[in-house]
């Protein structure tokens, strides 16, 4: 990946975190599970997060196909301590957004869908 692309992805993640300060981390992975850009706050392994994001999105796509849900746009995982939103960024990327459990979901979607669109354009 070119330096320009890498930088553009980092900027997209940075603006997302500025727009929603509660976001605990964000990452862009390729659809085959390699990390392309990351802005994680904890000590999560970006390689593992990227692989899992690709798995979740890949499986989500087939579930959507099977149940006539059309093209997958996003899927999410909710726990008592946090939520993880996974957005398709075109057909090459996945955007992962990690938030606390009680976040304003409407706001997250609004900003993250926007970010996913610009990431798709970068890729």
């Amino acid at each position: 990946m070119s330096v320009g692309k890498q930088e553009a992805l980092q900027n997209a993640l940075k603006s997302l975190r500025i727009a929603i300060p509660e976001v605990r981390g964000a990452l862009v992975a390729s659809t085959d599970g390699l990390p392309m850009a990351q802005n994680l706050s904890g000590n999560e392994d970006p390689n593992r997060v990227a692989a899992m994001a690709a798995t979740a999105l890949g499986l989500g796509k087939r579930i959507s196909d099977t149940l006539n849900g059309g093209t997958l746009t996003e899927t999410s995982v909710s726990g008592t301590e946090g939520q993880i939103f996974l957005y398709a960024a075109g057909n090459k990327g996945v955007l992962v957004v990690v938030t606390p459990a009680n976040v304003n979901i409407g706001l997250v979607h609004l900003e993250a869908r926007d970010a996913a669109r610009s990431i798709a354009n970068i890729l």
Binding site: T31, L34, A54, T55, A56, G58
Partner: protein, 197 residues
């Protein structure tokens, strides 16, 4: 007969071993396939990121086939997919001996977590200059009857390998064997069918 308890078989092995191809050759239903475009050069265009799922029925036994991804970064899926598996088909490409150590690591990863009988399938037997199953058995230090040559693109060859795996499952698990009754002929090989529950 169709009420038999499904038998879960996991297909694992390194990238390009032919896991997705094997499931596709066997399945009687449209396969749930999760291949995505490979962004690295892995010698083919796509790679499995979650699983392959297919089903077939062998003399009344519904067999559920779960193919794993081959790349190490998806090792969490090996663990998830192997839960409750009654048999493991480990595939290696006969023309990629450089992948054998990786195949051995996958085998150790899985068998250290669950006790499961396995058959080692050496794919690409339809191509010239591939390792013969006997030599691969020696490399892996396995009994010759635990290794079989396969052409994963052929449903007959894949089916024969599955029948062999079922025989190993039957020999391995006394509880499972207890639930078997009757002998059925299949493709020249005699296998048993699971008792109705």
């Amino acid at each position: 007969m169709n009420e038999s308890k499904p038998l879960k078989v996991v297909i694992s092995g390194p990238v390009g071993a032919g896991k997705t191809t094997f499931v596709q050759s066997l399945s009687e239903i449209p396969v749930v396939n999760t291949d995505e475009t490979a962004s690295e050069d892995i010698g083919k265009a796509t790679t499995t990121v979650a699983l392959d799922f297919g089903m077939l029925t062998l003399d009344g036994i519904p067999i559920h086939l779960f193919g794993t991804p081959g790349q190490d970064r998806f090792d969490f899926m090996w663990e998830i997919l192997c839960e409750g598996a009654l048999g493991l088909m480990l595939l290696v490409a006969g023309d990629r001996p450089q992948d054998f150590p990786h195949a051995r690591r996958i085998l150790e990863f899985i068998t250290s977590r669950i006790a499961v009988p396995f058959l080692l399938g050496v794919t690409r037997q339809d191509l010239p200059r591939v390792w013969e199953p006997e030599d691969v058995a020696e490399y892996f230090d396995l009994a010759p009857e635990q290794v079989i040559g396969i052409n994963a693109t052929s449903s007959t060859s894949s089916l024969l390998a599955t029948v062999r795996l079922l025989e190993l499952v039957e020999a391995y698990d006394p509880f499972y064997a207890e639930n078997l009754q009757g002998h059925y002929d299949f493709g020249g090989t005699v296998i048993k069918s699971v008792k109705k529950t």
